[in-house]
Amino acid sequence: MELVSPGIGLIFWMTLSFAILIWILGKFAWKPIMKSLKEREDSIDEALHAADKAREEMKQLKFSNEKLLAEAKDERDAILRDARKVRDKIIDEAREKANQEANRIVENAKGRIENEKMAAMTDLKNQLASLSIEIAEKVLKQELSDEKKQKDYVQKLIDEINFN
């Protein structure tokens, strides 16, 4: 029966001790412990938030970097494309011009050659004519050395002339 019948002394001391213990620990232990734990948790929370923020910023930064890089690439491509176009154009133009020049030179040369040829021909003709006259003079002189032949020839010439 002793086991389940609480004694007044123990109840008294237990009440007193327990109340004092709650008070002492509440004041000198639980309060500072809770405060420090809370502070630590808050600082950890803060650090985590900061890390998250930094990560987000990094992401943003990386994204903008990539964007910048892509833009630069595009620009470079465009510039290269333009340059290629300009180059092609210049080459084409140069080729065209060269062709024209060449054609013109050839044309000129052709003209001059023709002129030279014509001059040469004229010269040749003139020389040929004078040579022919000379020959003809000589032949005529030879032919017309006797009278008969002269008369024959005159007669022939007269015959040739028609009075139509």
């Binding site: 002793e2 609480p6 002394g9 008294f12 237990m14 213990l21 500072p32 412990i33």
Partner: protein, 401 residues
């Protein structure tokens, strides 16, 4: 760092091994003592009466009595019995009797063999372990105002009166010791917390922090709610660690452990009353409405016979009552089982010393197993008491929903 940690672990291991060894040798030693007596008696069956006076008959092992003696409170802190000599720490006896305060050490009572100023420690019968006052043995006594009891003793009935006993008994001393241990532990870690602000816990701090966080986050915040739990934290922490520490100290079989503090109904009762008072005084209108006009219950359960309010009203008192009984019964039962196993050694040793040794192996194996189970129970009961207290506080402060 690693070296120090290993060192600490080794120390811990060493201490626990030493404890176990001490435990076992104590049991075996006590067993041997008894067995020697039994053996001596068997050697001289004829000279029994002469060689062993009445004392020996008293020594006859009574398991039930011995177990109860280990579980209940006492006026001295018994450490060991070597042969006929009891080694125990005397504790102060404080009595209020006849309008006067009497303070003296329990050693003056000589384990009930002598009376001091008329006070006598009863060794048997209904008042065993209690201090009663015998007016015939007190020369200064002339007036009788206390409760009077008649005790059958030495053939006839004797008149005693019962003084109010505020002695520092074994349990009270154990409560003081655990108060000192707890104050030292938690104030020292509180200092550590202040000193190492924002840093990771270290040493004792890292041992206790998980428990503190467990009580705060999984008990208080869950049961009471984030909004109001902070008010109740000091009580819940103190409650949990007080029960847990005393459960553990109760498992240690020698000073400063060995007192059955949490297996004492007065101690658990006081803690339950604390829970009851806090619940009742922090209760809001909603809580009382739930008790006297329970919503969602058909009207004929309330009027004309208030069955529901009656049941609910009784519930206010049964809740802390159950808290008190649960802790007391769990811890006491665990101790009884362990002591029962140990008692088996002596019961069998009384029949045959060799049997005592044989049984001791099995008994100690079971006692160690029970000890491990008790470690678990020590935590679970502390947790359950705290959790239920927190739940009651939560119920009392719950908002209307």
């Amino acid at each position: 760092m690693t070296k120090i940690r290993i060192g600490k672990r080794k120390i811990f291991l060493g201490v626990s091994l030493a404890l176990t060894a001490f435990l076992i040798t104590q049991f075996l030693f006590a067993g041997t003592q008894h067995n020697q007596q039994v053996a001596a008696r068997q050697q001289e069956p004829d000279s029994h009466e002469a060689a062993w006076p009445e004392e020996v008959e008293e020594e006859e092992f009574n398991a039930g009595e011995s177990i109860i003696e280990h579980i209940i409170d006492s006026h001295e802190w018994h450490i060991a019995t070597l042969g006929e000599t009891h080694i125990s720490i005397p504790l102060p006896v404080i009595l209020w009797h006849d309008g006067k305060l009497h303070i003296f050490m329990s050693s003056k009572l000589h384990h009930g063999h002598a009376s001091y100023k008329g006070f006598r420690l009863m060794t048997e019968g209904e008042f065993k372990g209690k201090i009663l006052h015998d007016p015939l043995e007190d020369p200064d006594y002339n007036y009788l105002d206390e409760e009077i009891v008649a005790v059958e003793q030495e053939g006839g009935k004797k008149q005693y009166d019962v003084p109010l006993d505020f002695s520092i008994t074994k349990n009270v001393a154990a409560i003081f010791i655990s108060m000192i241990i707890m104050s030292w532990m938690f104030i020292s870690i509180a200092k550590r917390y202040k000193k190492r602000k924002g840093e990771a816990p270290k040493g004792l701090q890292s041992l206790l922090e998980p428990l503190i966080l467990f009580i705060r986050d999984d008990v208080a915040k869950e049961a009471i709610g984030v909004k109001r739990h902070e008010r109740y934290l000091p009580f819940l922490f103190t409650l949990f660690f007080f029960i847990f520490l005393n459960n553990l100290l109760g498992l240690v079989p020698f000073f400063p452990g060995g007192a059955n503090v949490t297996g004492n109904i007065a101690v658990t009762g006081v803690m339950a009353v604390f829970t009851f008072l806090i619940t009742t005084f922090s209760a809001n209108k909603n809580y009382w409405k739930h008790i006297f006009n329970t919503p969602g219950v058909p009207w004929w359960l309330k009027i004309p016979i208030p069955i529901m309010p009656l049941v609910e009203f009784m519930g206010i008192f049964t809740k802390p009552f159950v808290l008190m009984v649960r802790l007391f019964a769990n811890i006491t039962a665990g101790h009884i089982i362990v002591l029962g196993f140990i008692s088996l050694v002596f019961i069998f040793g009384n029949i045959q010393p060799a049997m005592g040794y044989g049984v001791s192996i099995v008994s100690i194996a079971f006692a160690v197993f029970m000890g491990l189970l008790e470690l678990l129970v020590a935590f679970i009961q502390a947790y359950v008491f705290t959790l239920l207290s927190a739940l009651y506080f939560g119920m009392a402060t719950e908002d209307h929903h």
